[in-house]
Symmetry: C2
Subunit: 242 residues, 2 copies
């Protein structure tokens, strides 16, 4: 009998240390909007995306390497930066050939944790690059941790839904003894016919946080499958196309 | 407009510190089987249940106060103790008037954390005392944290389902801005027509752990509403009937 690799889901950065990141592919998931925007920028030709954990580091690095600096705090472009977290800010005519230095809170924190835990293979996942992620995980035949960035360590619906969508798609290829994975998949089954309405109707806290800033268009984009279907991989401090 | 108290769900002990336990009623949830057994022992007349975090402490205290000592490790009664975690071990003819010293891993850990975080009001919840818990939370009109004991900090389906059942029942009385609560409720909606089959079919890891020990009967009991419908409250190191 073939021995399948394992699949676990960490629904919050606070839970990542329960799993063996050093021996797994870690998928960083920050659906609204960091990993959706990362996939989109790379899909549209960005040379690389450098995730950093503070606005000051973003400014500093942007000056050093003449890169585009981006990041938001409380839904507004952070002071000293020039662009925000929306995937619509990074069309090909703007981003092609450029380096994007992006500061996010939840996604970057999770990535740092994965590195500290010895993760050697880190990719980013979002609905816009759903199939690229799933196909890669199936092909690699290695243990997988789906790592949700969540919101200040609190679980959120959108990252859980994405994890559930991945589980639904790839589960036959993995051994899954993980209630978080199973629950995420069940949630996805309930939501899959209309992710947007589900987010809206189920009172997803992030939906309300963002839609309050008038970003329904971003949310719809970030819930759309395969419109930026590339595979960002972390290597030497940068996210690049694999 | 009436200001409603808040309700949050902490799906793992690792997440409890995200919520303000000092200003909330904390409901300790360990469906399989600690909090089900606690409700049942008290319902059947136990004087009190003293939760302790180690087998050695359980033996020591049992000797000091001539109490019944109980606890399992890996599904077997722990060496030096006399009874296990099954609610069926505590019928009225055995437990009435007695003190039960119970060592559990996940539930006791969560309770200690709640105390360290300054929780002043702690109760225990399980399907066997579902209505007692819900009615109490509605009547008290205070902030609530539903705290799942989980399994070695990993989320589990059964505690999440119980949290979801409580949310479903009491949500109109609370302000809920918590995706964990909403997701737990959605999971419960999917499962509520047959909790037992849901646990079995959805590959709940704990179902398989316990059913491997031949404990299907315990699982059915622990998923039954209101058969031990009392309210255990923590006071001075003991769980007593409120």
């Amino acid at each position: 009998m073939e021995i399948k690799p394992t699949l676990h889901t960490s629904l919050s950065p606070s839970l990542l240390n329960l799993y063996d990141a050093s021996n797994s592919i870690v998928v960083i998931i920050d659906v609204l909007r960091a990993t959706s925007t990362i996939a989109t920028a790379l899909h549209n030709g960005a040379k690389c995306v450098i995730p950093v954990n503070s606005v000051s580091r973003c400014i500093e690095l942007g000056n050093q390497i003449s890169a585009i600096t981006a990041g938001e705090r409380d839904g507004k472009i952070a002071e000293g930066l020039f662009y925000g977290n929306s995937p619509f800010e990074y069309p090909r005519e703007f981003i092609e050939g450029q380096t994007l230095v992006l500061t996010t809170t939840n996604g970057t924190k999770l990535l740092q944790q994965a590195l500290e835990k010895g993760a050697k293979e880190i990719i980013t996942g979002s609905f816009p690059n759903f199939s690229a992620v799933c196909n890669y995980l199936i092909a690699r035949k290695k243990n997988v941790i789906l790592g949700c960035a969540a919101w200040k360590d609190r679980l959120n619906i959108e990252d859980t839904l994405f994890a559930g969508a991945v589980v639904d798609k790839i589960k036959d290829h993995f051994s899954i003894n993980c209630d978080s994975s199973n629950m995420a998949e069940m949630l996805f089954q309930t939501a899959k016919n209309d992710l947007y309405s589900f987010m809206k109707n189920k009172n997803a806290s992030h939906y309300h946080r963002l839609s309050g800033y008038g970003l329904e268009k971003d949310i719809r984009f970030c819930l759309t499958y395969d419109i930026s279907n590339v595979l960002p991989e972390y290597e030497d401090g940068k996210l690049i196309l694999r």
